[in-house]
C-alpha cells in the first residue's frame, strides 16, 4: 500500500471505531433523560435504578468516544497535513465550535455521572438535558465539516489556501441540513436499538422481566421513532444527492448510463470495467421517481462523470445496499412493535420478536457504518469534492504501516475491554424492586 492508502486506512479505522462511541455519546444522554423523567413522573423505582445502571455504561462508552475523538483531532493534522493547510481556515472554526459543545457535554456529564447526590433533582435533570443537547450540537458541527467536504460552498483563495470572507457561510454547505438530520437520527436509532437488544437478550435468557420491560419502555420509543423517521430523512438525502451530487448517486446505484426512467437497482454486483451489473433486481423508473419524483426524469449516470472524477462504484453501491437493507429491517421491526403496542398495550415479547430485536441491535450500528462509508466512498477521489484530491491531501511521511498496526491493536484492545466491561455490567443481578412503586424519596 502507498502512503495515501495507509493514511486512508488509518483514518478509516479510527473513524469507524469512533463513530459507534460518538453515537452513544449523542444517544445515551437522551435515553438517560427519558429514564430520569419516567422515574420522576411515575415514582417507579425501576427507572431510577435503570438510570443509575445506564450511567455506568455511559461513562465507559463516553470515555472511549472522547479519547478516540481526541486521537482523530490529532490525526487530521498528522495524516492530512495538506487538507489542514488548505482548508484549515474553513473547517477549523467548525471544529472549534464542536470543541465548545463537547466541552459543555463533558462538564455536565461529570454532574450526571458523579453528582446525583450533590445537586437538586431539577439541576440534575437539567444537566442531563444540557448533555443531550450539546452532544447533538457537537455531532451537528462535525457533520457540517463532512457536508462541506462533500459539496463545498464557494470559497475564496489566498496563497493556495481557502478561506471564507464570512466564515459562518460554511453552514450553507448544500447537504448540511439533510446530513445533520440523518446523522442525529442514526445516533438515536443505534443507541435505542442496541439498548433494546441488550435487554431483549436478558429477557430471552429468562431474567426478571419487570426490570427489562422498563428498559424497553425507555429504549424502544427512541429506536422506533428514529427508525421510522429514517426512511423520510433518507428520501430527502437521496433527492439532495440526486440534484447536487450526481456522481455519488450514480455510484450508490451503480447507475452507469445516463437515462430517463432510470431503474432503481436492488442488490447486484457492479462490474466497473464493463459498466454492467450482475444479479441485480431492477425496479423500472424507480430511481427517477425516488430522485426527482418523476418517472421520466433523466438521471445522470457515471458516463457523464469524467473517469478521473468517478467514485469507486462497487464499494459505494454495496455499502449503500447494506445501509438500506439494515435500515429497512429496523423499520420493519419498528412497525411491528408499534402496531402490537397499539393493539395490545404492551411491547411484544414473543421469542422471535425479542430475537429480531437482538439482530436489530447489530443491524443498527452496521447501517450507520455503511452509511458513513457511502458518503466517504461516494466523494472519492476527492477529500474536498472538486477542490482537493485525497491522494494530494495525505501525509508524505513514511512508515505508516507500523503505526497502523499499533492503532489497530489499540482499538481492538479498547473494543474488547468495553465489551467485557459491559457484559460484566449486564451479568449483575437485577436490582431488587419492591412490588409496589414507591414515591421517589428525593
Amino acid at each position: 500500500m502507498d502512503t495515501a492508502a495507509l493514511a486512508r486506512a488509518q483514518m478509516g479505522l479510527s473513524l469507524a471505531f469512533h463513530i459507534v462511541f460518538a453515537a452513544f455519546g449523542v444517544g445515551l444522554p437522551l435515553l438517560l433523560v427519558i429514564a430520569d423523567t419516567f422515574a420522576a413522573r411515575t415514582g417507579d423505582e425501576r427507572y431510577r435504578l435503570l438510570s443509575r445502571r445506564m450511567a455506568k455504561g455511559t461513562a465507559i462508552l463516553f470515555a472511549v468516544g472522547a479519547v478516540s475523538g481526541t486521537v482523530l483531532s490529532l490525526e487530521l493534522g498528522l495524516l492530512w497535513p495538506e487538507f489542514m493547510r488548505r482548508f484549515g481556515e474553513v473547517v477549523g472554526p467548525l471544529f472549534a465550535l464542536e470543541g465548545v459543545a463537547f466541552f459543555l457535554e463533558a462538564i455536565f456529564l461529570g454532574v450526571v455521572l458523579y453528582g446525583r447526590e450533590r445537586v437538586s433533582p431539577t439541576a440534575y435533570r437539567l444537566s442531563g438535558v444540557v448533555v443531550a443537547l450539546s452532544g447533538a450540537a457537537s455531532a451537528a458541527f462535525v457533520t457540517v465539516v463532512n457536508a462541506f467536504m462533500n459539496l463545498p460552498v464557494e470559497v475564496q483563495w489566498t496563497q493556495g489556501r481557502a478561506f471564507l470572507e464570512e466564515p459562518w457561510r460554511v453552514f450553507l454547505a448544500p447537504s448540511a441540513v439533510t446530513q445533520i438530520v440523518h446523522v442525529l437520527l442514526s445516533c438515536y436509532a443505534v443507541t435505542g436499538f442496541v439498548m433494546a437488544a441488550v435487554h431483549a437478550t436478558l429477557l430471552l435468557r429468562g431474567r426478571d422481566p419487570s426490570f427489562h420491560r422498563a428498559a424497553l419502555n425507555v429504549a424502544l420509543p427512541v429506536a422506533i421513532v428514529s427508525a421510522l423517521a429514517m426512511p423520510l430523512s433518507g428520501d430527502l438525502s437521496a433527492k439532495q444527492v440526486t440534484t447536487h451530487q450526481p456522481w455519488k448517486l450514480a455510484a450508490m446505484e451503480a447507475h452507469f448510463e445516463t437515462k430517463a426512467c432510470a431503474p432503481l437497482l436492488i442488490g447486484g454486483l457492479p462490474d466497473e470495467a464493463t459498466g454492467t451489473v450482475r444479479f441485480g433486481l431492477e425496479v423500472p423508473c424507480g430511481l427517477s421517481v425516488l430522485g426527482k419524483m418523476d418517472p421520466n426524469a433523466v438521471i445522470t449516470g457515471l458516463d457523464q462523470i469524467p473517469p478521473s472524477d468517478r467514485p469507486p462504484v462497487t464499494r459505494t453501491h454495496l455499502s449503500f445496499q447494506v445501509m438500506v437493507g439494515a435500515g429497512g429491517f429496523l423499520a420493519l421491526v419498528s412497525v411491528f412493535a408499534l402496531l402490537w403496542r397499539w393493539r395490545k398495550g404492551a411491547w411484544p415479547e414473543q421469542r422471535w420478536f425479542l430475537s429480531s430485536l437482538v439482530v436489530a441491535g447489530l443491524a443498527a450500528p452496521m447501517a450507520m457504518e455503511a452509511g458513513w462509508l457511502v458518503t466517504e466512498f461516494g466523494r472519492q477521489p476527492y477529500v474536498v469534492r472538486g477542490l482537493l484530491l485525497t491522494a494530494e491531501a495525505a501525509t508524505k511521511v513514511d512508515g505508516l504501516m507500523p503505526r497502523l498496526l499499533v492503532f489497530s491493536g489499540v482499538y481492538l484492545f479498547l473494543a474488547a475491554t468495553v465489551v467485557s466491561l459491559l457484559l460484566g455490567l449486564f451479568r449483575e443481578p437485577e436490582p431488587t424492586i419492591e412490588p409496589h412503586p414507591v414515591p421517589d424519596a428525593a
Partner: protein, 336 residues
Amino acid sequence: MPLEHALAAVIVGGLVLYLLGGGADFGGGVWDLLASGPRKAAQRALIEKAIGPIWEANHVWFIFVFVLLFSAFPPAFATLTTALFTPLTLYALGLVMRGAAFTFRHYDSDARRRRRFGALFSAASVGCPFLLGAMGAALVREQPLSLAVDVFVVAAGLFTLALVAALAATYLTVEAADEALREDFRRRALGSLAVAGLASWVALGTAESVAPQLTARVGQGGPAVFGTLFGALALALVATRRFRLARLVVGALAGTVVIGWALAKGETLVWGEHTLASSHAQASTMRFLLAATVIAAVLVGPSLAFLFSVFSRPPMKSAAISNGLDGGHGKEPKGA
C-alpha cells in the same frame, strides 16, 4: 493588538489551563504509579476521587489549543504535525490509554485487571507530560523543527513531568481529608518541586547553544525571576503547611512557565519557516475564532465553575446511599 497576536494569546491561555487541569491529571497518574507506604491504597483512592468527575473536561483544553492552532495558523500547523509526527502519535496513544484505562479501572470488578489498567493509566500519565515538555523544547529550539533528542529536550521533558507532579501533589494536599494522607502528599509536593527546580536549571543551562532566545528572554529575564520566586515561595508554603495558598502559587508557577515559553518563541511559530505574521489565517477567520472563544468563555466558564462547586461540597444525601458510581465497581443499593 493584531488579530494573530490576540489568537496567539488565547492559545497560550488555553495551554496554561491545560497545564493546570490536564497537567494535574497527569500528575495524579504519576503519584498513582509512585503510590507507596502504608497508605498506598488510600493515596490511589484519593487521586481517583479527585480526577473522577473532572477528568474528561480537563483534556478538552488540549483539543481546544490544537483546533485553534490549525484554524488560525494552518501552514504552521501542517509543518508542525509533519515534523513532530512521531511524538504526536505517541502522545495520542498516551492520551487514549490514559483516559480509557482510568475509566476501565473504575468499572472493572476484577482486582488483577484493575491493577493492570492502573499500571497502564499511570505509565501513560508519565509519558504524556514528558512528551509535552520535549515537544515544547523542540518548538523553542532555533534549528529546523524535529525531535532530535539532546540534553535540553530531555531536561525540558523531565521538568514538565516534575511540574505536573508538583501541581497534582499540591492540589491533593488540599483534597486529602486525613492528616497522614495530607503529609504523604506534602512530602511528594516538596520532592517534585525540588526536582522541577533542578530540571529547569539544567534545561535553561543547556538552552544557550540551541535556544539563545530562551536564554535571553527567559533565563536572564523576568520569567526566570518570577519562576524562581514562585518556586521558592511554593516550597516555603508547602513546608509550612499553608496548602491552599501553596496551590495558588504552584498554579502561578505553571502559568509563568507557559508564558515564559511563549515569550521565548516570540513571533516564531516554527523556526526558520513560519512566524505569526507569515502563517496566520485571514482576518475574517480570525475574527470568527475570537468570537467563538468569547462564546466558549461565556458558556464554558460558568459551567466549569458550577462543576467545581458541585464537587467541592458534600453530597446532599446521607453517604450511606451509594449512588452506584462513587463506589464504581460496588453493587447496586438494595432498595432505597
